[in-house]
């Protein structure tokens, strides 16, 4: 049960630092600022608002996750705090779990706080404000950012300097959001000796579908009817294109890298 101590300590320390407040300001500027801007331009259209937020968060929310996640372990390691805290009766698993829980709570708390403040502004001014859709959007953004938080925390465990962690986390971000489908297409093209089949193979569709950017868009569009479906979900008739599989895919992105990162962290020499 020692991970709770670490989590509580981490939350308390983060709240006293500027970073988390900057993050809150960023989310507030995005959510609330956009609401005010749309209002200012006239015609408060709620559907248009959530679609813009969905698109913007699709590219920016992962950055928030990475900012919160990348230092989780490597920061402690480089400053020497990890050695100190591991000399207390806390295992490495406690350290990792505590850090992950606290960072995830901070991320969700920041998004929730920004969401609540924005809702207070929007409810009286937007006649078409739809509460379930709004909550769905916030949950989707938080889950999507959490994927990148856990991914970068996994890198933070597996690599040995913070510079490498930042580079790898940024590479992962670019690869998973912008280039995931392109990378798969290139792989298929190479594998099929540059004569790719007309009908995509099942595994190709599957791996495109479980890319975090696609699942995020798919879930918000399917469950909260925000924005349009991603192309792979439109063109393919495979049976696994369901919200349940999309959620499982996101959970996989959250758990698998952290599991692997922990395995490498458990054996590494942290001095």
């Amino acid at each position: 049960m020692n991970w709770q101590v670490i989590a509580r300590n981490d939350v308390r320390r983060s709240i006293n630092q500027r970073g988390i407040w900057t993050l809150l300001a960023g989310f507030l500027l995005g959510f609330c600022g956009l609401a005010v801007l749309v209002l200012y331009l006239g015609d408060p259209d709620f559907q248009g608002y959530v679609e813009i937020i969905k698109g913007g968060a699709g590219l920016l929310a992962p950055l928030a996750g990475i900012i919160l996640g990348y230092e989780a372990i490597i920061g402690e390691r480089e400053s020497g705090t990890a050695v100190l805290s591991l000399s207390l009766p806390q295992s490495r698993a406690d350290l990792v779990l505590g850090k992950l829980v606290s960072r995830t709570l901070l991320l969700c708390g920041t998004i929730a706080a920004a969401g609540v403040i924005t809702a207070v502004v929007m409810i009286p001014t937007y006649p078409s404000f739809d509460f379930p859709q709004y909550v769905g959007l916030l949950v989707g953004v938080a889950g999507y950012a959490a994927v990148f938080l856990w991914l970068s925390a996994a890198l933070s465990m597996a690599l040995s300097t913070s510079r490498r962690v930042i580079a790898a986390a940024f590479g992962t971000y670019i690869g998973l959001t912008l280039f995931w489908n392109v990378l798969i297409d290139v792989l298929v093209s190479i594998l099929f000796r540059f004569q790719p089949p007309r009908q995509p193979e099942t595994w190709v569709t599957f791996s495109k579908f479980v890319g975090p950017y696609t699942t995020y868009n798919y879930l918000l569009s399917k469950l909260s009817s925000i924005g349009s479906l991603p192309p792979v979900a439109v063109t393919s008739t495979e049976e696994f294109i369901t919200p349940a599989v999309a959620v499982l895919g996101m959970i996989g992105w959250i758990l698998l890298p952290v599991g692997l990162g922990y395995l490498s962290f458990r054996r590494s020499d942290i001095l």
Binding site: L191, F192, R193, Q195, E201
Partner: protein
């Protein structure tokens, strides 16, 4: 029992800790894998005809008969003489390791690396041949792996054999490249001269007699080609594999001879090595 075990394990670790040998091993494995990638593109219409290990063998054999002997020899030729010239060998033998432990441990350790590289590369290649265009049958894959591993091991033990009979690195290097040149480059071209020589001493008519074919064909590269022709490419013509050829020229005998090549050179080297003064 446990004594050569330690030496073999040390040998494997040494090979993987050394940068240049790691690169060499990686390149060899990559050639195998890359062959598997290219092989389907050499087939006329890969989406209609299934690509198999036969095509892979056909495409890659010309490269393998150079690469595998070179890899085996380079793995083997410094094994003993390097430590002997450097003086570590006398130190090693002052521990409770016998000379046979040294030779056996080194042969097995390096053999594991050699076979592991060939197996890893071939399995990667087989996956690339199988998907998306082809169909790899397991028995042919096993035959391919077995024959190629035997072929590599034969040259590894030749290298280790040379390494045990020489006292200086330079002589070992020269001998190794001599063996490589003779067996891989020159021997397959010597057919005609061999026939001329036998005709000169009145032992042959127009073609080589069967016993001379047997001797000429008992060289590892020719044996490997014959094994692959018999069991992979299904060749049933020619002087060795045709219907009228003698029984001791066929593929099964070639397997036996190839297996003998994997053992005898190291034993021969050891017999010499056991008696030398270090």
């Amino acid at each position: 029992m446990t004594r050569w075990n330690t030496l073999a394990r040390k040998e494997i670790r040494g090979l993987f800790n050394n940068r240049s040998s790691k690169i060499g091993i990686g390149i060899v494995a990559l050639v195998f894998v890359f062959g598997g990638y290219i092989a389907p593109t050499t087939v006329q219409d890969p989406s209609v005809v299934d690509v198999t290990i036969v095509d892979y063998d056909q495409f890659l054999r010309g490269i393998l008969v150079f690469l595998v002997p070179l890899f085996g020899l380079l793995l083997g030729y410094r094994a003993v003489v390097g430590e002997r010239a450097g003086g570590q060998l006398t130190l090693l033998l002052s521990f409770p390791h016998s000379r046979s432990d040294v030779v056996l441990g080194k042969t097995i350790g390096r053999g594991v690396v050699l076979v592991g590289t060939i197996v890893a590369g071939t399995l990667g290649a087989a996956a690339l041949v199988e998907y998306p265009f082809g169909a790899v049958s397991l028995d042919r894959l096993v035959v391919f792996l077995g024959a190629t591993s035997l072929y590599g091991t034969a040259f590894l033990t030749i290298g280790i054999g040379l390494s045990t009979v020489t006292a200086s690195m330079r002589r070992a290097t020269i001998l190794t490249f001599g063996v490589f040149f003779l067996s891989v480059v020159a021997w397959p071209q010597l057919n005609g001269y061999f026939l001329d020589a036998l005709q000169y001493v009145n032992l042959a008519d127009d073609t080589l007699p069967d016993w001379a074919r047997f001797i000429y064909g008992a060289e590892p590269t020719l044996l490997y080609e014959r094994v692959m022709d018999t069991f992979i490419a299904d060749v049933d013509s020619g002087a060795y594999l045709g219907p009228s050829a003698a029984w001791y020229l066929n593929g099964s005998t070639a397997v036996m001879l190839l297996a003998a090549w994997t053992v005898l050179p190291a034993i021969g080297g050891y017999v010499q090595f056991r008696r030398t003064d270090l």
